[in-house]
Symmetry: C2
Subunit: 394 residues, 2 copies
């Protein structure tokens, strides 16, 4: 049988990161290529206790069908938390529980975009989202990143000139992969432009809660008085990614279509996982837990940055971060980035070639991404020593 695939998926390929991750299963390879949270950041004892309580007190609720919007006590808890702690979401907004923030990207794009419509993305940006958008055959338009966030002139030019611009996708905090945090001034300017051109902002914030230094900057959604912003949150970095839980806070009318799309996609998210998240947020000290994991990431980020300062000798530079999971590195001009990444993996350190994060992977790119949350301290030390030797050869 010769299979004919739809136009939207025909050219869709597994993410380049996944291809590189294959090397990480080779014996002895140190992976700076993943994006997994540190396992020591998982509240294992608490989840063990909670799970036992749920299976003792509410087993039928945990096993039966539930509603598409999500487990009501969890929705109420997250909604109240985001309003009180982050001023995010109003009476005009609804909240639904999703299968990670990834599903917010998938369903929002499906709800708003026809094939050929334009979605503006930061360049570089998260490959999982790029592929979600590609899977609806939209036209992706990348806008360059600056140290304080997206380039506003390019952004307005794109909004003005591209055809049927429906969404702007942004990760304002500790952007994956660049590590860049958008300034408050730019957040407001981006909102103003989106309003002017009638573009929905999809604000993806998986890393906001793991800021380990500096001052929190308000979410774009916190000044959304016009119903322009779909805010995507995630439990993957603050609880556990294996539970596959995220959420969308969005204007009710827009969310109603996203809910119908979720209903036909998976009916609802795993209810046991939702009940675990609810009990974790309400019966334990969530703020103290966040403080604990921020310390873990502070330590790991600074270990990697300190090693980079010592070992890269200024040849390989990076964007310093105050949160998130990644360091975005730049090779000197004239160095072949893909060749460097290949030599690194041959020396048993896996990093991700930066072009994987571009709308157009064929564009020139001198960057690669390193993750500091997954490796142990010892692996961080060893891997950075190897990259340091490669750096010295440049």
């Amino acid at each position: 049988m010769q299979y004919t695939f739809s136009d939207k998926v025909r050219s869709l390929a597994p993410s380049a990161i996944r291809e590189i991750l294959k090397f990480t299963s080779m014996p002895g390879v140190i992976s700076f290529a993943a994006g997994n949270p540190a396992p020591e950041a998982f509240p294992v004892d608490e989840v063990r206790q909670i799970t036992a309580e749920i299976m003792r007190d509410n087993p039928i609720d945990a096993l039966q069908y539930s509603i598409t919007e999500g487990y009501t006590p969890l929705r109420d808890t997250v909604s109240a938390y985001m309003r009180s702690v982050h001023h995010t979401g109003t009476e005009q907004d609804g909240l639904i529980i999703t299968a990670g923030a990834q599903q917010v990207m998938d369903l929002t794009c499906k709800s708003l975009c026809n094939e050929g419509d334009t979605v503006i993305c930061e360049a570089p940006t998260f490959i999982g989202t790029l592929n979600a958008f590609r899977s609806y055959n939209v036209h992706l338009c990348g806008v360059d990143m600056e140290p304080d966030g997206i380039n506003l002139e390019q952004l307005e030019h794109a909004m003005k000139t591209e055809k049927n611009v429906r969404m702007l996708y942004t990760i304002p905090n500790f952007q994956n992969p660049s590590g860049i945090t958008m300034s408050l001034e730019k957040r407001k300017a981006v909102y103003t432009l989106a309003k002017k051109y009638g573009v929905i902002i999809v604000e993806d914030n998986p890393y906001g809660e793991i800021r380990f230094e500096g001052e929190t900057i308000p979410n774009i959604k916190s000044f959304d008085t016009d119903g322009l912003v779909v805010y995507a949150g995630s439990f993957s970095k603050v609880l556990a990614p294996g539970l596959r839980l995220g959420y969308a806070i969005a204007p009710k009318e827009l969310l109603s279509k996203v809910i119908v799309c979720k209903q036909v996609a998976d009916v609802h998210s795993t209810i046991l996982a939702q009940m675990i998240a609810h009990r974790f947020m309400t019966e334990y000290d969530f703020a103290a837990h966040l403080q604990r994991i921020r310390k873990i990431y502070y330590h790991k980020a600074h270990l990697m940055m300190d090693l980079a300062d010592q070992l890269f000798d200024g040849k390989i530079t990076y964007h310093p971060v105050q949160g998130g999971l990644f360091l975005w590195c730049a090779l000197p001009d004239g160095v072949d980035m893909m060749d460097f990444c290949t030599r690194a993996v041959q020396q048993k350190v896996a990093v991700v070639p930066g072009n994987a994060f571009l709308v157009d992977e064929s564009l020139p790119c001198q960057n690669f991404r390193m993750n500091f949350s997954t490796p142990t301290d010892e692996q961080l030390e060893q891997g950075m020593q190897i990259l340091g030797r490669l750096s010295a050869e440049l």
Copy 2:
């Protein structure tokens, strides 16, 4: 803000069943409208024990990111089970774990169909699948059901004359809502037609394992030597729907696109739920569990059928079933079906109007669907008494 939705979701509405289910939360309403498995069919003690063991032995595996294809031990277990017990799947096929069988429908349609392509469905059929297909703006073509399955003449006519026919969707066992099981002869004829016209068969089999009487009929996938069949299985009726676990067995090349679509949809399904299903299938007597739940459904189905025989006086007829969760009833000619369903809910018994299951809901329909798995025996008795009184008034 005025929202502009994509063409594919603009006319998409929550399922009519969900609207009717709203009545079921009214005090005192007996619901024959749901499709929930009987809670007494859940292996609560086993899941409680398993969950405690996972959180004791493998908590990090249960909480960390995993691979899109699914938890490898579960994939291997289901694959071996389906091959040995149901002769379903070969070396040419792969198996992925999904968020219920619902996700198989969503991702297969996304992978194979452009907007406007034709998908052939049984008429009536499962509304969740109809809406999944509608959400990709395909052209749905309904083919009438006969007591032994889909009408073959209409099916061939549709395959021959409709534009870009990409898929045929069928539920061969205890079809939802009609309760009809396709004969072996028709299964073979359907396969031959699909091969002749190059159409992919999506075989949805959520109820096959809960046959409580009669002989099992081989799955269409069991004679798929040409790579034509995507088989969708589910844990919702044999374990617990709240876990949101299903699977697809399909030709590897076709499955590779479905996997990429799943990667961008939700990364992977909840790993704790997958580990629970794996341990349940391997550490407990799965066959004995199936025997136990078949007895539950045998009892409930026969209770409802016996009451219908006693109380409907032949005015309201139904298709007798040997499995599944539903009875499909027909009102006498001249009776207004929607009026009957409305009067039933006013009398505090909710059933689902049959037109909800049609490709074109505006077509004339004398049917309604009743579920026997969710109500208690007492509710079955009370509800059927009420419907019996309404029947007597016809």
